[in-house]
């Protein structure tokens, strides 16, 4: 197990380094962040001075190596716009995104797994057809349509706070997180329901299920324990990866709901060509994703002893 984890961490480091390199090349291609743009006219000598402060006057490979060096010591640099430490900016939004991601995953697992089991157990029934139709529609509708729809019809109703609201109107986090979490969960829940249904149907045909029934195990226990445990593996894979993706930030949903998370930060950083923030968010996203897939792999072993990690 130790060897396995070490190997995966080694892979993760390579992935992170490659991701930073890509981000660096991409933001470099965006052009000079200190040049005049539109209404903002920056005198050339001041632009040159700012480039020197941020080390942008050096060749790209040197910039990249410096960045990696700083990253190792936990220094993510200052942002171009307001000269704030990037680590603080990221630190302020990560908890919000983590909450959003976890609530979204809880909602989608709850809806998806239950709907999937019902559809599988009552195959070809009305419930099954309903699940199939609704999940097809949900998968087909883009996130931003769902987000804008929820925003238009539900914000300001009941527990859902209005958007936008004055920043002084404090709303408890669990209220603020509900609508964006639903927006994110709907598509995922649809996927989970389909995965669950398919995999459950397969498992229900297996010999050990028949054996369990023959032994007189209650139907509830057959489905809830014997079948569920074996059929949930693809769902765990999907949910783990999905959680990793969500932790990296849900750009559209967070922007629609003015939710102060990682995705919204990235969105604004891209808009203002703020390379230090873009790099930091993407590095964070890559790390979150890699760690989550590692955890998923380890979970496999616990769920199914037949799977060996090497």
């Amino acid at each position: 197990m130790g060897k396995f984890i070490l190997r995966r961490v080694g892979q993760a480091v390579i992935v992170v380094l490659a991701a930073i390199l890509l981000v660096y090349v991409a933001t470099y291609a965006l052009g000079d962040p200190f040049a005049s743009t539109g209404d903002r006219q920056v005198p050339p000598e001041i632009a040159a001075q700012n480039r020197a402060i941020f080390g942008l006057d050096q060749p790209l490979p040197i910039q990249y190596i410096n960045y990696i060096g700083n990253l190792v010591t936990g220094d993510l640099g200052l942002d171009f716009d307001q000269r704030r430490p990037v680590i603080d900016m990221l630190g302020a939004v990560v908890p919000n995104t983590a909450r959003l991601a976890l609530v979204a995953i809880l909602i989608d697992v709850a809806i998806g797994v239950i709907a999937g089991i019902i559809a599988a157990v009552k195959r070809y029934s009305f419930a099954d057809v309903l699940v199939t139709v609704v999940s097809t529609v949900a998968i087909g509708v883009p996130t931003f349509v769902i987000g804008l729809g929820l925003l238009a019809f539900l914000s300001g109703v009941g527990p859902f706070p209005v958007v936008p609201r004055s920043f002084t109107d404090q709303v408890p986090w669990y209220q603020e997180v509900l609508l964006p979490a639903f927006a994110l969960a709907i598509i995922d829940a649809a996927f989970v329901a389909r995965l669950m249904r398919g995999s459950m149907l397969e498992v229900l045909r297996a010999d050990y299920i028949r054996t369990a029934r023959a032994k007189g195990v209650s139907e509830r226990r057959v489905i809830g324990v014997h079948a569920l445990r074996n059929s949930i593996i693809p769902v765990v894979t999907y949910v783990g990866v999905s959680l990793g993706t969500l932790l990296g930030g849900a750009i559209i949903t967070e922007a629609i709901f003015q939710y102060d998370g990682v995705g919204y930060l990235l969105f604004r950083a891209i808009g203002s060509n703020n390379a230090p923030v873009i790099s930091a968010v993407i590095v964070f996203g890559v790390i979150a994703y890699t760690v989550l897939s590692l955890i998923v792999d380890i979970l496999y072993a616990f769920l199914d002893p037949r799977i060996r990690l090497n």
Partner: protein, 569 residues
């Protein structure tokens, strides 16, 4: 992240589709009307300023949405949003009315010597910073030096570059600004590098704000996020980045009339859909002042104007074409006028902008109420017969190639495409149409080969028409480098000794009325006679305002609410 990116792409596709559709709608609109007679008024009329009502009492919280400013610390305050906050926190030597008129701020009066190269500002004694420090002449000197010093990283300190000693301090050769004398606490004496009879107007820019000792250098992040100013409002806590900024009334304010509002709450909205969010916030009762998306302007005007909740004002900016005045094919006045008269600005204003921008018939915008000359550019009116005559005279035959360049990603695609279509149709020109990112666009403008039409917009940094005339058209603003690239802002390479003499004279004229006349003459010459630049559209702004709850709401010179006058009804 994959999912979100797909969403983003979908948004982009939708946006692109609507551009294309609007472009098609435009085609049927942009055909030239028969003849060249009087044209109907285009766009939405301005609303008169809300009259000032007496009887304000302290109270009320005014709320609005803004996008995250670059800085609210004056050393680097840049855009309108930052200025709205900064202007409430700081009072400079002078203040500006919504009409662009300078009025006393901390200074009671100001006067130059005979040659306008030394200015004396007398200050109100005993006005205070929010921490109790006294605002004296040294506070201004401190503020100007803090912004100009080499390590400040200020992107706006160059507005002070007319002051003697600026070059030394900004290059690191000095730590003091030798041209600023603050030895008398109630009198600030400023020596300039050259005569400038409008120097006091420059001090309206945020960068010329006074600074308390507590400010420290610009690297003091605690101060950057919670500036201690001397304005009618002070910070309530610090700037919550990406969340909001809350200001409360400063009760010891004596530099002018005290404000009425208890507090102003700036809620920070996403820049991507900020306009929509401001509008949604106004509709759901969160905000008291809001912009609205362009497609909703007409509908909201009909809803809110009868209720008195509608402000419409032409503001301080002009959208124009930089013309290649020294390169074929636009190197003659006739050629420029022919092209200008062949463009139907009204049709574009209606078809593309749906009335949200109005055709410009002058370079100096209507925000300068005293100097504004509607129609000074007679070639800015669509007149096809005249255009054809002039084109023939100038040798602009059908088939002549002309560049039409714009910068991408800033919403200029549609209207420049309409211009292209009109020039091809009306004069038979072959338009080389090209959009590039702004930096490349600037490089094109600087190059000696620049020709044809090149989109640009300009707004004055401080309220003088000279800030349109001199940087854009004076020979001294060309600043050619060794390769012949323009390093100033006179990209057209308009060079007219007569005009240069006129603007110099205006800058050196003390009497305001006389100076205004000289600015008008300068515009008559450069725009009316020579069409050195091609004015296209005037900036016009629309706001929804909660006049049911607040009185005395107007739009100030930087397009923000007049916070210090507003009171709760």
């Amino acid at each position: 992240m994959t999912r979100s990116k797909a969403g983003l792409a979908a948004v982009a596709v939708t946006a692109a589709a609507s551009l294309v559709l609007a472009g098609c709608a435009q085609q049927s609109n942009s055909g030239p009307p028969a003849g060249s007679g009087a044209q109907p008024a285009v766009g939405f009329p301005e609303t008169p300023p809300n009259p000032e009502v007496p009887g304000g009492k302290p109270g009320g919280v005014f709320r609005l949405g803004i996008t995250e400013p670059t800085a609210i610390d004056p050393y680097n305050t840049q855009e309108s949003e930052g200025q709205g906050v900064e202007d409430s926190l700081f009072t400079g030597l002078l203040e500006v009315t919504p009409d662009g008129e300078p009025v006393p701020g901390v200074a009671t009066d100001w006067s130059p010597n005979d040659t306008c190269d030394t200015w004396t500002f007398n200050l109100k004694p005993g006005t205070k910073f929010h921490n109790g420090e006294i605002v004296d002449a040294a506070a201004f000197k401190r503020g100007w030096e803090r912004a100009s010093i080499k390590d400040s990283g200020s992107e706006v300190s160059y507005h002070l570059d007319v002051i003697k000693g600026y070059d030394e301090i900004s290059s690191g050769a000095a730590t003091e600004m030798s041209g600023v004398n603050a030895s008398n606490p109630n009198q600030l004496v400023v020596t300039l590098k050259n005569a400038d009879c409008e120097f006091p107007l420059r001090t309206i820019h945020p960068v010329a704000a006074p600074m308390p000792v507590a400010a420290g250098p610009t690297s003091n992040t605690a101060f950057n996020d919670a500036p201690i100013g001397n304005g009618p409002f002070k910070m309530d806590g610090k700037w919550n980045h990406d969340q909001g900024i809350r200001l409360v009334r400063f009760d010891d304010y004596t530099a002018g009339p005290k404000a009425f509002l208890d507090a102003i709450e700036f809620t920070i909205v996403s820049p991507s859909n900020g306009v929509q969010l401001e509008y949604d916030g106004f509709v759901n009762g969160t905000f008291d002042w809001a912009r609205m998306p362009a497609p909703l302007i007409a509908q909201n005007r009909s809803t809110y104007e009868p209720q008195g909740k509608w402000i419409s004002r032409k503001t301080n900016a002009t959208n124009y074409f930089v013309t290649g005045d020294t390169t074929a094919p636009l190197n003659s006045v006739d050629a420029r006028k022919a092209v200008s008269m062949a463009i139907d600005r009204n049709a574009i204003a209606q078809g593309v902008f749906k009335g949200a921008q109005v055709p410009a018939t002058s370079m100096i915008p209507a925000a300068f109420r005293d100097v504004y000359q509607e129609g000074v550019c007679d070639a800015c009116t669509f007149n096809l017969d005249e255009a054809k005559k002039l084109a023939e005279k100038a040798g602009l035959k059908p088939g002549t190639e002309i560049n039409l360049f714009y910068n991408t990603g800033a919403g200029h695609e549609e209207w420049t495409a309409a211009v292209r279509q009109q020039l091809e149709k009306n004069l038979g020109l072959v338009v080389k149409y090209s959009g590039v990112p702004f930096n490349d666009h600037l490089n094109n403008l600087e190059a000696p080969t620049m020709s044809g039409l090149n989109r640009l917009a300009w707004s004055a940094d401080y309220p003088t028409p000279g800030n349109f005339m001199i940087p854009l058209m004076a020979t001294s603003s060309m600043k050619l480098d060794a390769q012949g690239n323009v390093k100033g802002n006179n990209y057209s390479r308009y060079s007219n000794p007569e005009f240069d003499a006129l603007v110099l004279k205006a800058s050196a004229t003390k009497d305001e009325a006389e100076r205004s006349k000289l600015w008008q003459q300068a515009e008559q010459m450069s725009i009316g006679r020579d069409l050195a630049l091609m004015p296209m559209f005037q900036r016009q702004q629309f706001r929804l305002v909660a006049t049911d709850r607040f009185a005395n709401i107007n739009m100030d010179f930087s397009e923000n609410p007049t916070f210090d006058k507003i009171f709760l009804k």
